[in-house]
Amino acid sequence: MSATPKLTVSYAPFWHNGSRISKKSCNIFMASLLAVVPGVYQYGVPALGVVALSVGSAMMWEIIMNILTRRPISIGDGNAAVIGMIFAMLLPATAPWWIVVIGTCIAIVIGKHIYGGIGGNPFNPVMLAIAILMLSWGKILDFNAALASYAFNFNAVYPLTLMKSFGASAVGGISLKDLLMGRQIGGIGATCGIGLIAGGIYLMLRGYIRWEIALSFLAGVGVTALCFNKVNPVYAGPGIHLLTGYTLVGAFYLITEDSSSPVNFIPMMIYGAGAGILTVLIRNIGAHVDGVVFAILIANLINPLVDKIRPKTIGEVITHA
């Protein structure tokens, strides 16, 4: 053969639409800032510290696990930073440093790397971390106690605790506009309703999250809350349920996590709506103050089964009967 230069031999596709994991991570990260920045504004420097530590420690755990499992360093795909960011969004601004470090360790190590890293995790890593922390150090995640030192110009009681203890009448005075504008207490990135909604819409439009899941989750929460409210007005209506606690952050940043959610249309609807219904069930008749975390874990659990419902493949050839 003639002395041609060494050509690269590789496989189709030779063109690509340019999507990549790091790009998606970056977009999610930026979108989450829409909710995190108002949170940091509200809670001040401690919140900024929690966010920075969370993102930083998540990336640190990622590197440690890459080294331990002898895999290429993968912080470049930004997934660890996204996990750190989303985790920080759920924490109170006063979370102690060790809670943040342990939490990101659980998310990255247990939630992600022991399943072989990105794409392998059957559960949402952030949800696992929060659930384990809730189980162990519940009072640190109790927003009323955690944020007691702040003086706000609004009623600084976690609306879901109010609702749990005193029923809908206790939250009747809260205006939905206040909730939307973030005039409530909660996680650093979970209170500013419009920030979350704007970020969510951006991500849905760009196709980074699947709108089917996010919207069916919100619909599930709304419809179930409405049913409860109509049957017995002691239960709060859909507006409160949709705008408090982790509902919005759950719809746009948690339940849409790729690896633990379905990809087909009907399963996505079942998955999202199921988690929504369960969220309100837990809030209204279950033990936990906010149901989003455990509802998403249960939804993750049924994901492999529901995702077996898929459209019939056209022209599927059964070669072996």
Binding site: I114, P122, L135, L297, L301
Partner: protein
Amino acid sequence: MGDLLVLMISCILINNILLAQYLGNCPFLGTSKKMETAVGMAMAVIFVLVMAGVITWVLNVYCLKKLGIEYLQTISFILVIAGLVQFVEMFLKKSIPALYAGLGIFLPLITTNCAVMGVCLINIKEEYSFIEALVSSFAYAAGFGLALILFTGIRERVLLARVPKPLQDTSIGLVTAGLISLAFYAFKGMV
């Protein structure tokens, strides 16, 4: 009726035999690599557990208690269960071969399954009435089946993931079971 429903939900979801009571883990990890196997095992456990629960309850109330020899519970229960499984196996083989083909291979595994023995002992310990014992046996077995099938769905995927070598198989299986158990905390306080 309402009480029985509460008992049922509690046995399936809240006090799930595998995830909260730690019973029946060996078959749980052993039969969860393929969906068909898991479904077969779930059926077999429901079948045997309901029979064993009822028979040991009767044995305890009408025999051991009457004679005042409750300390022979352990030995008599295990013999009854072992005998029952043998008998069921023979019976199925002769009369319902189709069912035997489906469940047969799982039956011997069940003899040494602490879930069966455990539920029988729980029925006695909780002093359930006959009907409660029947419901709880069924519900515990159904809870086992539910957990097993959910676990298998996940495990089928985990088997395809790039799990680090030392964690593969039983190790990751146990961790996953723990996380499922964590997810089941969702139902706490619901009944």
